[in-house]
C-alpha cells in the first residue's frame, strides 16, 4: 500500500512537470497525489464501496491542497490538480469503451455509469471542501 502510494506520488510528479509547476510547489503538490491515493486504498480496504472511497480520497486531497495553498500563498489549483489526478477514473472510461467495441452494450453502460458516479464523487469532494474553505475565509475577516 505504501509502495503504491509512492507510485501515485511519482505519477503526480510527472503530471506536475507537464503542467509546469516548479520548485518546492512541485514536490508539495505531488505529495497530495500520494496522500489521496493512500486514503483511497485505505478506505477501499475498510469498506466495499469504490465510489465512497473516491469521495473520501477527494476530500482528503482537497483539504491538503487548501491548507497548503494557505500556507504557501499559492493558487490552490496547483495542488488540487496533482492531488486529484491519480483518482480520475481513466480505467472506468477505458473499460466502458472496450466493452462497447466488443459489442457488450450492457457491460459498457454499467461501466460508463460507474465512471460517471466516480467522477461525480470526486467533484463533490472538491466542491464540499472549497465551499467550507470560503466560510473559513469569511470567519477570519
Amino acid at each position: 500500500m505504501i509502495l503504491n502510494s509512492f507510485y501515485a506520488f511519482l505519477s503526480a510528479l510527472g503530471f506536475g512537470v507537464l503542467f509546469n509547476i516548479r520548485g518546492k510547489n512541485l514536490i508539495i503538490a505531488s505529495l497530495g497525489g500520494g496522500l489521496s491515493w493512500f486514503t483511497y486504498l485505505l478506505s477501499a480496504r475498510l469498506q466495499p464501496s469504490l465510489v465512497f472511497s473516491l469521495f473520501l480520497a477527494s476530500l482528503v486531497g482537497s483539504i491538503y491542497s487548501e491548507v497548503m495553498a494557505r500556507i504557501y500563498k499559492t493558487p490552490v489549483t496547483i495542488f488540487i490538480i496533482c492531488a486529484i489526478i491519480p483518482l480520475v477514473p481513466g480505467g472506468g472510461m477505458y473499460y466502458a469503451t472496450l466493452e462497447a467495441v466488443k459489442g457488450n452494450f450492457d457491460a459498457s453502460l454499467s461501466k460508463g455509469v460507474e465512471t460517471l458516479f466516480s467522477a461525480g464523487a470526486i467533484a463533490i469532494g472538491i466542491v464540499f471542501i472549497s465551499s467550507i474553505s470560503t466560510i473559513f475565509k469569511k470567519i477570519k475577516k
Binding site: 511519482l10 510528479l13 489549483t77 490538480i81 491519480p86 472496450l98 467533484a123 465551499s131
Partner: protein
C-alpha cells in the same frame, strides 16, 4: 496615471492567467485588484474561457472598456502563480504601469520546461500509473515508451496547430496500437493496464478541476464550457482507442483479450 494604461496592464495580467490554466474568478479578481491598486474605484469584468471583457470607471466618471479574445489555452501553472504573486505584491506596494508592464512581459516570456524534460516526465507518469493500476515491471517499461511517444507526438502536433480533438484521438489510438503490438509480441502481462496508464497523461485534469471550481464560484458559463471541453477530450480519447482496436481486429482478426 493614464486610465488606458491601467486597463491594458490589468487585462494583460488577467489574460496570462486565463491562457495558462487559471480559474475564471481568479482572472476577474486579479483584474479588479490591479485596477484598485491604481486607484480605479469601479471595475467590472466578465470572463469566459474564450474572452475577457473589462470596463473601468475612474473618479472623474470617465468610462472605458476593453475586450480581449483568447485563442490559445495551454497549461503553465507557474505563470498563474507568478501573476498571482505580482498582483498581491502591488496591492501593498504599487509600482508604475510601465514597470508593471515589464514585469508582466517578463512572466509571459518565461520558457516552459524543455521538450526533453516533459517527454521524460510524461513517460515516467504513464509508467507509474501503469504500476499503480496493477501492472508489473515489464508493463512499466512498455508504458514508459508509449508515454514518451504520446508526449512527443503531442508536441509535434502542437507545432502544426492541430486541434485538441484530433490530437487526443491520435494519442489514444497510438496508446492502444502500441499496447496491442506489445501484447501480441508477448512482451507484457496486462494490456489493459498499459493502455489505462498511458491514456492517463491525456486526461484533461485542468479542465475538470476548473470546471468544478468555476461552477461553484458562480461562473456558470465558464463552468459549462470547461465541462464540455473535458467531455470532448474524453470522447476523443475513447474514439481513438476504439478505432485502433477495430482496425486491429479487421486487419488481423481474432479477439482482443
Amino acid at each position: 496615471m493614464h486610465i488606458d494604461d491601467i486597463i491594458h496592464v490589468a487585462t494583460d495580467a488577467g489574460k496570462i492567467i486565463l491562457e495558462n490554466g487559471g480559474e475564471t474568478y481568479r482572472v476577474e479578481q486579479t483584474i479588479t485588484m490591479i485596477c484598485k491598486s491604481y486607484g480605479i474605484p469601479h471595475t467590472e469584468s466578465f470572463v469566459t474561457p474564450t474572452g475577457i471583457m473589462v470596463s473601468i470607471t475612474n473618479s472623474q466618471n470617465k468610462t472605458i472598456s476593453l475586450v480581449r479574445r483568447i485563442n490559445n489555452r495551454t497549461v503553465n501553472l507557474r505563470k498563474v502563480e507568478m501573476i498571482n504573486d505580482l498582483s498581491r505584491k502591488i496591492m501593498s506596494r504599487p509600482i508604475s504601469t510601465d514597470d508593471m508592464r515589464k514585469e508582466i512581459e517578463f512572466i509571459n516570456n518565461i520558457p516552459p520546461y524543455s521538450q526533453i524534460t516533459t517527454t521524460f516526465f510524461a513517460a515516467g507518469s504513464s509508467g507509474f500509473f501503469t504500476l499503480l493500476f496493477g501492472g508489473n515491471y515489464k508493463d512499466f517499461f512498455v508504458a514508459f515508451i508509449i508515454g514518451a511517444l504520446i508526449n512527443y507526438l503531442g508536441g509535434y502536433l502542437d507545432k502544426l496547430d492541430v486541434n485538441g480533438f484530433l490530437k487526443n484521438m491520435l494519442g489514444g489510438a497510438l496508446a492502444a496500437t502500441m499496447a496491442i503490438i506489445a501484447a501480441s509480441l508477448g512482451l507484457v502481462g496486462n494490456m489493459d493496464t498499459i493502455i489505462i496508464g498511458s491514456i492517463m497523461i491525456l486526461v484533461p485534469g485542468i479542465s475538470i478541476t476548473n470546471a468544478i471550481r468555476d461552477t461553484i464560484a458562480g461562473d456558470l458559463v465558464s463552468g459549462v464550457s470547461r465541462s464540455v471541453e473535458a467531455l470532448f477530450v474524453a470522447i476523443a480519447i475513447a474514439a481513438g482507442t476504439s478505432i485502433a482496436f477495430k482496425i486491429w481486429v479487421l486487419l488481423f482478426g481474432g479477439g482482443l483479450i
